[in-house]
């Protein structure tokens, strides 16, 4: 049995070749090997959503996916949302305008679930947003601001 495997993965548009311990999750590897700490660790059982990233267009809990499983995949983390020059995307702007981040720890996960939702459903209803982000806990409970931000971003994208 091998302890590590080499994987090829595109993270936020950059191709990377990484040697990963076979038992490490995508979350571990993003934070510790790639050095992208925007993706947060909390429950590590796929219940809180703080570690949500987008893998090949789908939002996933990176604590539940082994890093070796993303071999050949495209991964987007919260660091990949803004433009290279630091310009925020409409969703990030809306989060700030609506006061969505409080302590901010859940926000990377909320943003990734919201981005995946908007990518699939550009005109979501309130219920769509609640459903789409139901797996992302916010103990500051800024749910109404988060929902308002997602709807506002959708509105901006429509214009």
């Amino acid at each position: 049995m091998r302890d590590t495997l080499s994987i090829e993965v595109k993270v936020n548009g950059i191709d990377r070749s990484i040697e990963v311990p076979v038992h490490h999750t995508l979350l571990d590897v993003l934070r510790e090997e790639v050095g992208l700490t925007g993706t947060k660790e909390c429950c590590v059982v796929g219940e809180c959503g703080a570690c949500t990233v987008i893998v090949d267009g789908r939002p996933i809990n990176s604590c539940l996916m082994l890093a070796v499983e993303v071999d050949g995949a495209e991964v987007t983390t919260v660091e990949g949302l803004a433009a290279e020059d630091g310009r925020l995307n409409p969703l990030q702007e809306a989060f700030l305008d609506k006061g969505a981040p409080q302590c901010g720890f859940c926000i990377p996960g909320q943003l990734m679930s919201a981005q995946a939702l908007l990518d699939k459903k550009p005109n979501p209803t309130v219920d769509d947003v609640h459903e789409g982000l139901a797996g992302n806990l916010c103990r500051c409970a800024g749910y109404q601001q988060i929902t308002a931000a997602v709807l506002a971003a959708a509105e901006v994208e429509r214009q």
Binding site: G38, C43, E47, E79, P101, V129, N136, L137, Y143, Q144
Partner: protein
């Protein structure tokens, strides 16, 4: 209102980092040559430790230290914000499920985790643990704390830590038309900050550096300095913005352990708790509160009589203060001629309880408000009316010797009722409830701030407050923006490094806008005075002819901005102006709490709901929360905090509670089995509103706000359930199971 000054819903200062992933929380910081720590615990609450065998664990490659009680100074160093009772590691006996017995430091997290599992702890499970109030008070129960830890304490041979007596008037001589007596229970719940607690330590020259997710970095500095016998100047505390705290991160917990491990290994060490371990580290006190309410037939309160038992856990942490501060205001915002309060903090073999948003008030409010409703129903008086009839008027000294009512509370109550539509016909199958919450703000305080107006007119604010989501940075920056006329994007707020930032007593009790806010305001005023001197010198006029206000300098015949004056006044060498500000509220030793309330947090919560007759599930159709905030310095942030507090209140009201087995193990550790509100658990309509009469003691009339909307959620919901179903349930949470069982019992 747009803009950057006070009253504007400005974007959060620190928001950019929070939406880009660049905000650095503790676990995002790595130190060169760092060791990883894993705790060794037992899967039982109370056990006698017979021996610890490190042999197998030491064989794991990369293990550098396995620390046990034997490796620490003797006697075991102990610490705590009120009592020095918490050991660095368990010694002799574990007192609660998950209490650390040993800790492994290794080169990798994997190695630390593997080795921790191999540390063999020979132990005997002691099955007669104390997990309830009734068992704790049973004379045959074991003592949770060694009486030797409580010298000169007449209660040392009981499980009662302290019994406090408060009140006024003579309850026993009062004659009431109706006396309602009931007992109300409140569950153990946990903070569940999404960021688990984390700690790091590293040798730092001839001192030590500590990193912690703590709310009170200066208390941590004092604690470590005392344990290690170091001067404060040699203990550097880094306190990155906590990712949620809610009181759970107020006081030191495992920082002393990592400090000792770092000194022993000579290397940086890091311990990040799992969420499960966080559940075992902090919780709210569960309570059993018996209340007798005396009323006249017209609904006037005659007396309130409380016997309040708080089950506080194995070590005190700040729980005795929760007991006193929570119970002192048990009679709430009402005019009551006679009040008697007996409040006990009771030790148990459970996770030490600590501060948690509301600080004891949600528990007493559940009892008082629910009992008042039972009285109102018995007398046939409207539940809104009975509250308005007894509510203290602004300026009324409703608690003798304490701060008089500092707001127009009637206004808040009427507003909540109006938003809900209290007087409108009740839709079939629904119930409504309204309840009032009142909490003392800080009783003492000490905050310093330094503000630097740099040569280009940009600003640095230094504040020892922790911004854990309440938005302290934004508010302080808005104050400086208002006073110095500088836009927010030219202001930075520096926090979280004890060698850089001056002292702040603590971040708790919703104090920061008022206390640190005043210190920041005074630092800005200090700069204004220097700008005034500078302007007078530049124009060759007397200082008395110059005034500085809201970023503008007014001189005879002309006016200029602060920045223009600064740039000219500093001259070719440049430089800066430095201002200092201080705000203190000293101890009052005559007062039962050591000080009167700096302000009150007052909230009125009104809800409407329906109960599914088949499942017992509660759907909140409307939830209106109105707080008296004095002034909303940033209305967007006030709304966020208010709604968040309201939803957190729904958590302990509807779903949250620890579940124990008979041996005191928490059976629902972690996010799968312990449910907190999600986006699918929200009221169908949730609105918060603020009463703003600028009558608070802080800058521009502000009061603290971040706890109010949580205080009265439970009794408002409970009362509405009673109206909807006819059931009276006096135990939380109101889970579908509990409600359904109550419906079945009635059948």
């Amino acid at each position: 209102m747009s803009g950057d000054g006070v009253g504007a819903s400005a974007r959060r200062v620190g928001g950019y980092g929070r939406v880009t992933g660049h905000q650095e929380y503790l676990a995002d910081i790595t130190l060169t040559d760092m060791l990883h720590v894993k705790l060794v615990t037992l899967d039982c609450a109370r056990a006698r430790i017979i021996s610890i065998d490190k042999t197998a664990a030491e064989q794991v490659s990369g293990v550098r230290l396995i620390m046990t009680a034997e490796d620490l100074p003797h006697p075991m160093p102990r610490f705590g914000p009120q009592f020095q009772d918490r050991p660095v590691l368990a010694t002799g006996e574990t007192k609660y499920h998950g209490e650390p017995i040993a800790a492994v430091a290794a080169e990798t997290k994997d190695a630390a985790e593997a080795a921790a599992k191999l540390v063999r702890v020979d132990h005997e499970v002691l099955v007669d643990g104390v997990f309830s109030v009734s068992r704790a008070l049973d004379p045959t129960a074991p003592l949770v704390q060694d009486p030797d830890l409580r010298p000169d304490d007449p209660l040392a041979n009981t499980n009662i830590l302290r019994e406090h007596h408060f009140g006024w008037g003579d309850v026993d001589s009062q004659e009431a038309d109706l006396v309602v007596e009931n007992t109300y229970e409140f569950p153990m719940v946990t903070h569940f900050a999404i960021e688990p607690h984390g700690f790091m330590a590293a040798p730092d020259g001839d001192g030590i550096a500590i990193w912690s997710t703590i709310q009170h970095p200066y208390l941590l500095q004092k604690t470590i300095a005392k344990l290690l016998d170091l001067p404060l100047a040699k203990v550097r505390v880094f306190a990155p913005d906590p990712g949620g705290a809610f009181g759970g991160k107020q006081n030191p917990k495992l920082e002393p352990l990592v400090a000792y491990m770092s000194l022993r290994t000579g290397r940086p060490v890091r311990l990040i708790l799992t969420l499960d371990e966080t559940f075992q580290a902090v919780r709210r006190a569960s309570t059993e509160i018996r209340v007798r309410t005396g009323l006249n037939s017209d609904g006037t309160l005659v007396f309130e009589d409380f016997e309040s038992n708080f089950l506080i856990g194995a070590y005190v942490d700040i729980a005795d203060r929760v007991v006193t501060k929570g119970n002192y205001l048990a009679a709430g915002p009402y005019r009551v001629p006679a009040v008697r309060i007996i409040a006990r903090g009771i030790l148990s073999h459970t996770t030490p309880s600590t501060a948690f948003r509301g600080f004891g008030i949600p528990q007493v409010t559940w009892a008082r408000e629910s009992n008042l409703d039972e009285g109102a129903r018995a007398l046939g008086i409207d539940r809104l009316e009975i509250r308005l009839r007894n509510l203290a008027e602004q300026g009324e000294e409703f608690v003798p010797g304490d701060t008089p009512a500092d707001g127009d509370w009637q206004q808040a109550v009427r507003r909540a009722a109006e938003l809900l539509g209290w007087d409108e016909p009740l839709p079939a199958g629904r119930g409504r409830g309204i309840a009032l919450g009142l909490k003392s703000g800080p009783t003492t305080g000490l905050s310093y701030s330094t503000v630097r107006l740099l040569g280009d007119g940009s600003v640095l604010i230094y504040s020892g407050t922790s911004d854990m989501g309440q938005g302290a940075r934004t508010v302080f920056a808005q104050i400086a923006s208002q006073e110095l006329g500088v836009p927010l994007d030219r202001i930075s707020v520096i926090m979280g490094d004890s060698t850089v930032v001056p002292y702040d007593q603590q971040t708790s009790a919703s104090r920061s806008s008022v206390l640190m806010g005043t210190a920041v305001l005074r630092a800005c005023q200090d700069i204004q005075a220097k700008v005034r001197t500078m302007a007078a010198r530049l124009d060759g006029v007397d200082e008395s002819e110059v005034s500085v206000e809201k970023g503008m300098v007014y001189l005879p015949g002309r006016e200029a901005t602060v920045t223009e004056t600064l740039v000219t006044g500093l001259g070719p060498l440049g430089g800066e102006l430095v201002g200092n500000g201080e705000m203190r509220k000293d101890k009052d030793l005559e007062h039962p709490l050591g000080g009167s309330a700096l302000f009150f947090e007052f909230n009125a919560t009104a809800v409407e709901l329906e109960v599914d007759p088949g499942t017992g599930e509660i759907t909140i159709t409307k939830h209106m929360t109105v707080s008296d905030v004095g002034l909303a310095m940033n209305p967007l942030q006030v709304t966020g905090q208010d709604e968040g507090a309201a939803i957190m209140g729904l958590g302990h009201t509807l779903m949250e509670h620890y579940i124990f087995d008979e041996e005191g193990r928490i059976r629902n550790l972690g996010a799968i089995d312990y449910r907190i509100p999600t986006s699918l658990d929200l009221p169908l309509e949730l609105r918060s509103d603020s009463i703003e009469n600028a009558d608070g003691p802080g800058p521009y009339g502000v009061k603290g706000i971040s706890e109010g909307a949580l205080l009265a959620v439970s009794p408002a919901v409970g009362s509405a359930v009673t109206e909807a179903t006819g059931l009276i349930i006096r135990d939380l949470p109101l889970t579908p199971q509990r409600v359904w069982e109550a419906m079945m019992e009635r059948v």
